[in-house]
């Protein structure tokens, strides 16, 4: 073979497909890292192989007991579901109202710096904690029941909607705002004539999304006693009423699916 042919053959032998990790060495490091991590985490966890193995047949047992779902106590189911829906609606509206000052204060282009930093700090703190944690606090303060749930989700919604509003305001066109300021309009008029029209469509869509999300979350916070169908579910599990549990789970799934469908429908109509 000629020299060039030998070179080509060697190149061919050495070719490997490029990888997303940059270099092959980096990819090897990543995979080895994952493998090591799995080993470390599994060994450091308190994992009892016996219990896992014992769990498999138990899983089938529980699954069997879950079917057929038992809708006998459908009144409790219905009232729990209605309570969850009420919490979701009320909390979304309260959250929307509270989110407006939060959003305006957290917008770099509308708020003076110290207010902006304070509002952003509030948003970061509020987002870090799972709503269940917030729910426990409100339960401790206001007792068991839907009031705690309402406050929890209102707070979480205000933080979420406020953050989205602030981002929309920061992304909006500055020109029209400047123009309305230049005619001598007051702050409120500037917001209503120049800011609001730019953010309202997206904000409405985000609100509907949050309404749907609150429906899902209201089922969870019931587990710590903040009302709604979650409380019913938690009770059924602790009493081993698995056929009732499955009835509740199906109800929740249906409720969530309807909520999602409604949310998609409204948001499509908004375009």
């Amino acid at each position: 073979m000629t020299t060039s042919a030998i070179m080509h053959a060697n190149q061919a032998a050495e070719w490997r497909p490029p990888t997303i990790f940059g270099t092959r060495r980096r990819r090897a490091i990543v995979w080895i890292g994952f493998a090591l991590y799995i080993v470390w985490s599994v060994t450091s966890l308190d994992v009892d192989a016996q219990r896992i193995l014992a769990g498999i047949p138990r899983a089938f047992d529980i699954l069997a007991r879950m079917f057929p779902p038992n809708f006998e106590r459908w009144e409790i189911l219905l009232s729990g579901m209605i309570e969850s829906i009420q919490i979701a609606i009320a909390a979304s509206i309260a959250g929307l109202v509270l989110s407006i000052p939060i959003g305006i204060c957290a917008a770099r282009n509308l708020a003076p710096k110290p207010i902006y930093l304070a509002a952003r700090g509030l948003i970061v703190a509020g987002r870090t904690f799972h709503e269940v944690i917030i729910a426990i606090f409100f339960v401790k303060l206001f007792g068991f029941g839907p009031v705690a749930g309402l406050l929890t989700l209102a707070f979480a919604s205000a933080i979420f909607l406020g953050k989205m509003l602030a981002e929309d305001i920061e992304n909006m066109k500055e020109g029209p705002v400047e123009a309305v300021r230049a005619v001598g309009a007051s702050f409120g008029q500037v917001i209503y004539y120049a800011v609001l029209p730019q953010v309202i469509v997206k904000s409405l869509g985000v609100f509907i999304y949050r309404l749907d999300a609150n429906l899902r979350h209201s089922t969870v916070i019931g587990i710590v006693g903040a009302g709604g169908i979650g409380q019913t579910l938690s009770a059924s599990f602790s009493r081993y009423d698995f056929d009732f549990s499955s009835a509740i789970l199906i109800t929740i799934a249906l409720m969530v699916a309807v909520g999602e469908w409604f949310s998609d429908w409204v948001r499509r109509r908004l375009r």
Partner: protein
């Protein structure tokens, strides 16, 4: 400067007011970075006229215009609008003063989701209380004026169209109507034709000239197209590196003056294309 020697009454017979409409005294603007955008600019406008402000990019034209209604805060100097110093006003008084200054922008700056009528009416926001403006309750004479203005700028029947459904030239006309709704004492135009094609640019400049004469309102136009400036302005001022270097009638804007303003030796090139081509 050639303009200071101009007669007391202009060609329409209007007599110079005792207090000049606009008087800029020693206006300076220094940014936090230390960049000096305006250096001791002084200017007097005492009659309804179209004043074109020219100069290369960064010469301070836009800054100067925006200092007049304090969209940019001046570092020092006085800006007297009908004798009242705009720079010294507090926030509330500034809002009242801004009502008397109409501004027209390069990017039109209409609220795109709102209709033409809503945009035009927003020119009266300084005169209408918050609650009434939220409910769009404007006085009937304002509504009438809005329809009349739309007709005047050539957009009769467009009042319910959404602003983002209009062409560039149409949007600028809406911007002009909005500014005129304020019944201002002064018009500021910041590169009003930079985003428009040549034909539309000429139409807009013609319209502005007509409106200035009709309403006896002076206008300062920040413009980079020298030919347009010469064709439509009563007076040309030029800034170079923040300093006012020219203030005279357009006829006196010679090529050598332009070379001094823009600092470009080839300024005469468009006139002597035949030479270049030879």
């Amino acid at each position: 400067m050639g303009y200071a020697a101009a007669p007391l009454s202009d060609s329409t017979g209007a007599v110079k007011a005792s207090v000049p409409l606009l008087e800029i005294q020693g206006l300076s603007k220094v940014y936090n970075t230390g960049r000096k955008a305006l250096d001791n600019v002084s200017l007097v406008i005492d009659r309804p006229q179209v004043v074109a402000m020219i100069g290369s990019s960064g010469a301070g034209k836009s800054t100067c215009i925006r200092c007049i209604n304090r969209l940019v805060e001046p570092t020092s100097g006085r800006i007297l609008l009908n004798g009242q110093d705009v720079v010294a006003l507090d926030r509330r008084e500034l809002r009242l003063a801004r009502r008397r200054i109409g501004m027209i922008f390069q990017e039109y700056n209409l609220v795109e989701r709102l209709s033409v009528m809503q945009n035009v009416l927003s020119g009266r926001l300084g005169y209408v209380g918050l609650l009434s403006s939220l409910r769009y309750r404007f006085p009937p004479e304002d509504i009438r004026a809005a329809f009349e203005l739309l007709d005047r700028v050539g957009l009769a029947g467009y009042h319910d169209r959404r602003a983002d459904a209009l062409s560039g030239g149409q949007r600028q006309r809406v911007g002009i109507a909005r500014a005129l709704m304020q019944r201002p004492d002064l018009l500021l135009l910041d590169e009003p034709t930079a985003s428009l094609d040549p034909k539309t640019s000429r139409q807009i400049m013609l319209l502005v000239g007509e409106l200035v004469a009709e309403r006896k309102t002076p206008a300062i136009i920040n413009i980079h197209d020298v030919a347009l400036a010469k064709a439509h302005a009563d007076r040309i001022v030029a800034l170079k590196d923040g300093v006012l270097v020219f203030d005279d009638i357009p006829e006196n804007l010679t090529d050598s003056a332009l070379a001094a303003i823009y600092g470009d030796e080839d300024w005469a090139a468009p006139h002597s294309m035949s030479e270049a081509g030879a």
